[in-house]
């Protein structure tokens, strides 16, 4: 009877018995779970950067700088987009992954990682003499963005700075009657925004190009951190008072976006596009209104790709691109950004004059690395002349030491003609006010600034709204 019942059951459930099915399913399940825990990661030290770095950096430079030959170094490419890179690091660190050992971090978001203690405190792990050397020899603002805002301890080593310059078509200016004497003067002593806007408009009227001065005014982080930040600084304005309170203390620093220099900067930017004459200075209409939706990519396309604009504000990476792209008869000129008011006229010390937003990247150590000693050895090499020379000749990243910018960049085929200009621009950088709440403040800022530029809000109204948002975010702490 029992035998018959088993026979019926076996038939009704198919050719595979229940016992056999449970065995196979159990084995397959265990094997699948085991597969999920398979090994990952690489031997040696992994540096996570971008494609350009991974493909063109000469690894030998690290060994020339003294890194032991026993340490294998591999550079891998993460997301190109800075926000995506930050998100990747957040995920990797949350998951306590051993790789990458070294992370290439944007100076715009390194401080939140430092404050959260997500990366290694280098000052606790490395020789104090070396730390002092890094602090004293690197661009000051780059060091500030790699240091803990409360303690001043260094948590990330500067890798390379970046800052915008004014790039323009010398050949078109020549056609309009400008000469080398002006170009030479501008290369170290840029004109005011009033003079520059008039010159660009004049050249544009005589030139066979669609656009005058192209820049980035889309509603995106680059507007608040950089394009508007530097324009505001050149007029003597700031988000949070002077440079002393740039990185905090959050909640205790003044919010100064309603002050006259900030409003003036908004009006200047708007006048350049609309010719509305809202600014107290005489600004000539010289930019197309498409810039209100443009980022770096579109401006590159117009000035470098299509060779279809008189002048462009952009980062140093576009200088070699323009040198490559321009044909015979098309000549590139580079100068520091024009100034709004003289430094002596600015209410806050260090503001006014030519100003360039500080971009750039730092290198930090992963606290979960399997080999902290080797990681720190490679990290130390980033401050060597050998590695800085290799990063200039390979991916085209400027040295993070001002002294090396002029000496090394002076011999570089693309940067050589502009090394003094680059040094001056680098010396006049202004960092974004990076704190743990800057990401949200930046978002509020670029939305209100873009609204004001596009005329959806009056500048005073936009800055009043922004002040309210900033104060709310400052009070979170």
């Amino acid at each position: 009877m029992v035998k018959d019942r088993k026979k019926i059951k076996q038939t009704s459930t198919g050719p595979v018995s229940r016992r056999r099915f449970a065995q196979i399913a159990g084995t397959a399940g265990v094997a699948s779970i085991a597969g999920c825990y398979g090994g990952s990661g690489t031997e040696g030290i992994e540096i996570l950067g971008n494609q350009n770095l991974a493909q063109t950096m000469d690894i030998q430079a690290f060994y020339d700088a003294g890194v032991s030959e026993d340490i294998d170094i591999e550079i891998t490419a993460g997301p190109e987009d800075t926000d995506s890179r930050a998100e990747e690091f957040v995920t990797l660190l949350d998951a306590q992954q051993e790789n990458p050992d070294i992370m290439v971090m944007d100076n715009g978001w390194t401080i939140p990682f430092i404050v959260r203690e997500s990366i290694v405190n280098l000052e606790a792990e490395m020789d104090s003499g070396f730390i002092d050397q890094v602090k004293s020899e690197s661009f000051e603002m780059l060091v500030e963005t790699g240091s803990h805002p409360d303690t001043g301890e260094l948590w990330a080593i500067p890798f390379f700075p970046d800052f915008p310059t004014m790039q323009y078509r010398k050949d078109l200016f020549r056609d309009a009657g400008y000469s080398d004497s002006e170009f030479d003067r501008w290369s170290t002593d840029p004109p005011s925004w009033s003079e520059w806007s008039a010159s660009v408009a004049e050249v544009h009227n005589n030139a066979d190009v669609d656009y005058g001065y192209v820049w980035q005014a889309d509603s995106y982080p680059g507007l608040s951190c950089c394009t508007f930040n530097e324009l505001m600084s050149s007029y003597g304005g700031a988000y949070f008072g002077g440079l002393d309170t740039l990185f905090g203390p959050v909640g205790e620093r003044p919010v100064t976006v309603e002050e006259a220099p900030v409003i003036e900067a908004l009006n200047v930017a708007r006048d350049m596009v609309t010719g509305s004459s809202a600014a107290t200075q005489d600004i000539t209409q010289c930019s197309p209104n498409v810039v209100f939706g443009w980022t770096e990519q579109e401006t590159d396309g117009a000035f470098v790709g299509d060779v279809n604009a008189v002048a462009m504000r952009n980062w140093t990476y576009t200088i070699p691109l323009a040198e490559d792209q321009f044909e015979a008869g098309q000549e590139l000129g580079v100068m520091p950004m024009p100034y709004g008011v003289q430094e002596s006229e600015a209410a806050y010390e260090g503001l006014g004059g030519t100003a360039a937003a500080l971009g750039g990247w730092l290198v930090a150590a992963n606290p979960n690395t399997a080999d902290l000693e080797s990681t720190l050895e490679v990290l130390q090499a980033f401050h060597s002349a050998e590695v800085q020379e290799a990063q200039l000749n390979g991916p085209g990243f400027l040295p993070h030491q001002p002294d090396l910018v002029e000496s090394l960049a002076g011999e570089h085929p693309a940067f050589g003609d502009y090394s003094e200009t680059l040094r001056i621009a680098g010396d006049n950088t202004v960092a974004r006010p990076v704190t743990p709440v800057w990401s949200q403040q930046s978002q509020e800022a670029y939305q209100d600034i873009n609204d004001a530029l596009q005329g959806r809000k009056q500048p005073a109204e936009a800055m009043s709204d922004l002040e309210g948002s900033f104060i709310d975010l400052e009070n979170i702490s």
Partner: protein, 331 residues
């Protein structure tokens, strides 16, 4: 020793006992046993994260320390978000004071998008399904043309609309500006960009509605129409009294799917170049707050849980309508 061997032979070790027990199960019980792991996984991946999200939303954000969240604050995050008192949100969820434009309030943007897109997709989908259901020469190509947008990846879809409305390269930007419908930079204006995103979604997803409605239409017994015709029913009466009631359950399911999807809108906003700052949806708020550098986990969890609750209410609404309607009661 002999006893152990006998016990093993008799199936006294635990594995054998389980297998023996399994062998004795009825067919129905055995089926449930096989389904149990899948149910367990589904339960774990659906409800456990929801519970975790809710739990995180009861704590304060911690932006200045190593911990992911701060102290327990109960429902304060919900109060702050619903009263527009949370400064970490890039756009307000809803602003009852009226100080924020309509298209910059995430809840209103999401609801407006869901209602407008689902209504238009249903109407257009109906028309497309009707066309696809008819017999005529070249029908297969018409079907391909109707379904094609549904097959296009969201990134390509976004790029198409970006290229249409970008003022530098888009050929629709200038004419629409000339007749006063759009501004000079439509993708940077919240109102214009909302329209673009909605049209993009309708263009792509009407085909989905059409397919589900077509399935409903083709399940209708054709003899019902013959009888109605003999009885003198007009085309409208045939549609009103035969087609609509019989496809109503399928229509409600299709609308339910689309509404859930529309309430979660995010991809097309980013892919079209409009961006979350210009067209803030509920999902945008979660992404902006959760990811990137700020990592305001508690605020993001609060918005996420509110979004899930709203979607659950919408699903509930559909189910109630389906249950109460005579057409759906037999389901």
């Amino acid at each position: 020793m002999a006893t152990e061997q006998r016990q093993q032979q008799q199936g006294w070790n635990p594995v054998s006992r389980v297998l023996n027990w399994m062998e004795q199960l009825s067919e129905e019980a055995y089926a449930y046993l096989l389904l149990a792991p899948a149910f367990l996984v589904l339960f774990t991946i659906a409800l456990w994260p929801l519970w975790r999200t809710f739990r995180v939303s009861l704590f304060a954000d911690n932006l200045f320390g190593a911990a992911k969240t701060g102290g327990f604050v109960g429902l304060q995050n919900y109060v702050d978000v619903l009263t527009n008192q949370n400064p970490l949100l890039s756009r307000p969820l809803i602003d009852f004071t009226g100080g924020t434009p309509f298209f910059r309030q995430a809840l209103l943007v999401t609801l407006a998008f869901a209602i407008i897109s689902v209504v238009f997709e249903t109407l257009i989908g109906f028309g497309q399904a009707y066309i696809m259901s008819k017999e005529y020469r070249g029908r297969r190509w018409v079907r391909v043309a109707i379904i094609l947008p549904w097959a296009i990846p969201i990134v390509i879809q976004g790029m198409l609309f970006f290229l249409l409305f970008n003022p530098s390269v888009g050929f629709l930007s200038d004419p629409l500006q000339a007749i006063g419908l759009f501004g000079s930079n439509p993708l940077t204006s919240s109102t214009n960009a909302f329209v673009i995103v909605t049209v993009a979604d309708i263009w792509k997803t009407s085909a989905f509605m059409a397919l589900l409605i077509l399935a409903g239409m083709q399940s209708i017994d054709k003899s019902l129409y013959d009888v109605a015709e003999v009885a003198g029913a007009s085309p409208w009466q045939r549609f009103r009294h035969i087609t609509l009631p019989l496809i109503f359950p399928a229509l409600m399911v299709a609308m339910l799917f689309r509404t859930i999807d529309a309430m979660r809108i995010y991809g097309i906003i980013e892919a079209s170049g409009a961006g979350c700052g210009t067209v803030p949806s509920l999902s945008c708020l979660v992404v902006d707050t959760m990811f990137g550098v700020t990592q305001a986990y508690a605020s993001a969890a609060t918005i996420a849980f509110i979004t899930a609750t709203i979607i659950a209410l919408v699903i509930g609404g559909y189910l109630v309508v389906l249950k109460l309607s005579p057409e759906g009661s037999y389901q």
